[in-house]
């Protein structure tokens, strides 16, 4: 009965949402390069404040098809007393 006034889910919204998800996955899979660059950038940023163990570094995507999270496990050797600038 609600059909007369309420709206059924439109198939174009289903299409759009499915596309957004599948493209998120496609784009990630396509960019191993980007992942490396991002890793390097994060190491650089964090190294200003703490000394990290780069060998033990883990960096990966977690989650399901609904949402993605970037999970980084960064072992810290020590905290720097003075902030180190990279330049």
């Amino acid at each position: 009965m609600f059909g007369w006034f309420g709206r059924k889910e439109q198939s174009k919204d289903v299409a759009r949402d499915r596309l957004k998800l599948v493209l998120m996955q496609d784009r990630m899979a396509l960019a191993p390069h980007t992942m490396e660059q991002m890793k390097d950038a994060v190491i650089m940023a964090i190294s200003q404040f703490v000394e990290i163990d780069e060998k033990g570094l883990e960096f990966e995507w977690k989650g399901n098809e609904r949402s993605k999270a970037l999970v980084a496990n960064i072992p810290v050797r020590s905290v720097r007393r003075r902030v180190k600038t990279n330049d």
Partner: protein, 264 residues
């Protein structure tokens, strides 16, 4: 200053060849010297869409391999001054040409023509690499369907990593009534997803089937078809004009509306 434009899509069957033929016709009718290059070696089609299939003597591979001069392989379209076709070979495959050879060929064509439109094969392999090799800019054709938009996204990524920074999008076969009912993705959805510049929207049009049957691209007689008009508008945008997008909204009839409401 001449320009080479590759027309590509990733997915097959979305209307690359039709777009290429119609844009060529439109640009030539506006007084420009245009050559259409069929880069789909082994599966040539631009010749039949253009209605020039009976006049092929030499093809692209003959030129590249030195069997004939470039000028001998160009087919002149008798309907419009300044419109030429360089057909693909039908009995060879995509590996008979390299990207370097394609670039040379396109550069040579630029000497005598204002616009070189390259009809790219479907896929992302060698044929695609050949087709984009000599191009200055790229147009991507898609339809408002999940599979076509997904492939367009992949192609945009590949084009960007090959140095094409501002590709344009043509959305082909839009069905305004389905969009109005919410049963087809609309242009803002597609542009939002692909984050790319819109070059044109071509409505689904039965006249395209008729014109392809006859080998007479719709843009030759644009007054007969909305799709033909849409392609002419895209051609003007290629030339740098600001052209408003066609109003594709067809009003639902009373009965259609009633049936839709009852079904909802």
């Amino acid at each position: 200053m001449s320009e080479a434009i590759v027309i590509t899509s990733g997915k097959g069957g979305v209307g690359k060849t039709t777009a290429c033929a119609n844009l060529g016709v439109a640009l030539a009718s506006m007084g420009h010297k245009v050559v259409l290059v069929d880069a789909d070696i082994g599966l040539r089609n631009l010749d039949v869409v253009m209605g020039l299939e009976n006049r092929i003597v030499y093809d692209l591979v003959d030129v590249v391999e030195g069997f004939c001069r470039l000028r001998q392989a160009l087919i002149k379209d008798k309907r419009l001054d300044g419109l030429f076709l360089l057909p693909a070979a039908q009995t060879k495959d995509k590996t008979s040409v390299t990207p370097d050879q394609m670039k040379q060929l396109v550069d040579q064509l630029k000497e005598d023509h204002d616009y070189i439109l390259v009809d790219c094969p479907a896929g992302i392999e060698q044929g695609f690499k050949n087709a984009i090799a000599g191009a200055d800019r790229a147009l991507i054709v898609t339809t408002p369907e999940v599979a076509a938009v997904r492939d367009a996204d992949r192609i945009i990524g590949l084009l960007e990593s090959s140095g094409f920074d501002d590709p344009g999008l043509i959305v082909n076969r839009l069905k305004p009534k389905m969009v109005a009912k919410g049963d087809m993705m609309d242009i803002p959805d597609i542009i939002d997803i692909l984050a790319i510049r819109l070059m044109g929207v071509v409505p689904d049009d039965e006249y395209i089937v008729v014109s392809t049957n006859r080998g007479e691209p719709a843009a030759l007689a644009a007054e007969k078809s909305k799709a033909g008009q849409a392609f002419r508008n895209i051609a003007r945008r290629i030339l740098g004009e600001e052209v408003p997008f066609l109003d594709l909204n067809e009003q639902e009839t009373f009965w259609e509306k009633l049936i839709r409401l009852i079904r909802a």
